[in-house]
Subunit: 498 residues, 2 copies
Amino acid sequence: MTTATTTSTDPITQLSKMLRGVAVLRSVDALLDWDQETFMPVGGSGLRAEHLQELSGIIHDRQTDPVLGELIGQAHEEAKASGDARLEADFREARRDFDKATKLPKSLVEEMARCRALGMTAWREARQKNDFPTFLPWLKKTVELNRQKAECFGVPEGGEHYDALMDDFEPDMTAKRTEEIFTPLRAFTVDLLARIKDSGVEVDRTFATMEMPVEKQREFSKKVCQAIGFDFETGRMDDTSHPFCSGFGPGDTRITNRYRPDAWLDALSSAMHEAGHGMYEQGLPKAELFGRPLGEAVSLGIHESQSRMWENQVGRSRDFWTWGIGVARDVFGEALTGVTPEQVYRASNLIEPSFIRVEADELTYNLHIMLRFDLERAMIRGEMACEDLPGIWNERIKSDFGLTVPSDAKGCLQDIHWSMGAMGYFPTYTFGNIYSAQLWDAMGTAIPDRASKIASGDFAPVLSWVRDHVHAHGREFNAETLCEKATGSTMRPEPLMA
Amino acid sequence: MTTATTTSTDPITQLSKMLRGVAVLRSVDALLDWDQETFMPVGGSGLRAEHLQELSGIIHDRQTDPVLGELIGQAHEEAKASGDARLEADFREARRDFDKATKLPKSLVEEMARCRALGMTAWREARQKNDFPTFLPWLKKTVELNRQKAECFGVPEGGEHYDALMDDFEPDMTAKRTEEIFTPLRAFTVDLLARIKDSGVEVDRTFATMEMPVEKQREFSKKVCQAIGFDFETGRMDDTSHPFCSGFGPGDTRITNRYRPDAWLDALSSAMHEAGHGMYEQGLPKAELFGRPLGEAVSLGIHESQSRMWENQVGRSRDFWTWGIGVARDVFGEALTGVTPEQVYRASNLIEPSFIRVEADELTYNLHIMLRFDLERAMIRGEMACEDLPGIWNERIKSDFGLTVPSDAKGCLQDIHWSMGAMGYFPTYTFGNIYSAQLWDAMGTAIPDRASKIASGDFAPVLSWVRDHVHAHGREFNAETLCEKATGSTMRPEPLMA
């Protein structure tokens, strides 16, 4: 009896229960999103909007409940007094979340939701008609609302509005620090791109564009994802038009993929990418800590490092294909007779500048991101008028990529992010690339026989290393500190350049 | 401005909004159940239990919110004053729901949930080990809790506890009225069964037990469901081990089916059965009235009448197979060469007494139900000890079916219902059979060319008739009144016997 009473008044226990309740509801929300993208019949979209609206109201009320704030305060004090650094970090992060949730006035949240709904519709129309002016008023509104949002969160001293926006996606990151990292990377990439273009090397990709049945591609993707360590007992993989990963909570992580008959290598890449996100979700200590920051992903950049590592460092390596070609031949049969691991390796690493970010190769992808970072930051700073976006965009594509943008639809209107109101998000893609290279380097030192393990289809050492050095920590450290602990250094682009 | 103020204080508008909110949350709950049965990875069961528990708490609070009760009172008064009978019925039913939700003390609800969870586990074990004593204590507890539940709802004057339990599934129905309807039906069925057994007629079913690929069966089932009118734009059909239908709300109704390689006719029957449930859900006026009783199904008996009608009156008819054999041949190919509509018709209507309810034919199914009704009623009345269940069950199977029950697992332990705490539910299956026959008769008079329409694959007149006479009404009338309005008579078993 005494135990029961003590338990129910202990702030850490009470807080854990409240946080878990919120996490459970958020995971229902994630299931609703997943279902919408995978199986929901077309007629269900109106009802689904009602589902999401009703639930988001409930979640918001729970996240901003003053009782929650009080319990966080008490638990944080208790954790500090205990001297347990992990526990202290846990409630420090819970405090951060609570403060952010309570700092945005409801009117602004509603206005952002409205702008997002209408802005997305306008963006779709603008892209379809190749008509930037249709989207322009919503872009202006988005910039304005993001400035207001930054002010509510609080612009850090000596910092800028953009910093407060980044914090939603990459806590503790700043625009200045991003610039510091991106500047050498951009110079290096533009230079390398020019040299590759001049090299005139031709790569045979005919086998990569052969028509392969979608069922076979799905089977191949699943086999590889299972082999690298995505657990299908606590996860699944379905078809969608835009691949994504959703970690609902302990025991249920779902990834999706897409297939084009003539692009089986692309399907594998995106499957491994999503499986990388999925394995991070599966590796977080959610069973005990679901709803608590220690059970959550640290940032989008680190999340992306996990997907990029499996997609690029593993999936585009010679070693991987030494093993992978056999699996591919088992599935696709004689279509791949005579194709060597070396050929697949070369075809997987072809550099081909494109206007379109999502079709970009590993090298030019970052140029796309750096362009978007510079322009959205300039707009948020008020240093660039939204009206000037198409012109500046096209000039930069010319100077960085050496390409002429044929239309705004294939230029500044190609991405959905700004129409969704997300600014400060793009850089996390390149952070992911940078972190993945750093982690890969450090892991290589720790696992000297990694290459041969991978070549024999044994991915357990790789997964085990990221489980220990990344997944297990949840949000105990911020992204750069986590990186430093795992690799000996905060974020630095050199390993990626190498 | 005036309009806005008036609208927001108008009790009917406010109430509709509250009721819709509850319905939206209940439909999220239904999606969670559906996902659990269809796609959830095995590892997700713990999290899913948390999802359902969290949500059911929120739904219960909303359903018993005193503000809701007040608004219902105001809206009901307003509806009565308006003289609008439909509106009056709407809030009369909302009052019924609210009263039922508030009449059960939380302690009893929790105790029932606990008994259900543990009882289902015990039942599974008991069935597997063929050991009735393992389940006996939970059966006793279930009977006791159901008696308490009936007392909370209120036992009607001159009635019995069982009446209050039935009300959850078949509002306004009583045990006495059920007995009145079942008595002649049972005598007739037992007699007919004896005569069929003596007739010695043999039916060739070899083509019905041929192995057919599951993908082909799925395709065939979908083609037929689409043809009879299940709308796949606002619905879908997936695989599960136990077929069910879930009408989430406007625009999203999902059915499931199961397939055995050697039973393609069974797969079609259950597909048409679930599609019948699905078309009722799709035909209810939910777009406007979601959450309000006028937008809801009237009873389980009427719901079952819709599934049974498509499964039996349509799907087992000569006319249906005149059209259906062509569709089947298109899908299954030469496997069905030479099979005639008459042969399929005969094979679909084979009478073969079985110990197992869910495998029963159209005739003996009702005997299974009547057995369960008599025994659960006797247990609730305290006229039969739970200990005596196996003996009494086996005697009755002997006398009604002429069969000897080989084990309790195939006898009184076969059904999940009692372990789930559901008593008063079974009779609705037979009500469905009876109603479907009555509706079918009345419709036949209204549509003189129905047979030729069906034989040509035109099911629109049938669907249109049930849309108008059943679906459109929601819960405006209770089941028997609805039946009387549609057919000229309250429930009567004669059309089914005919």
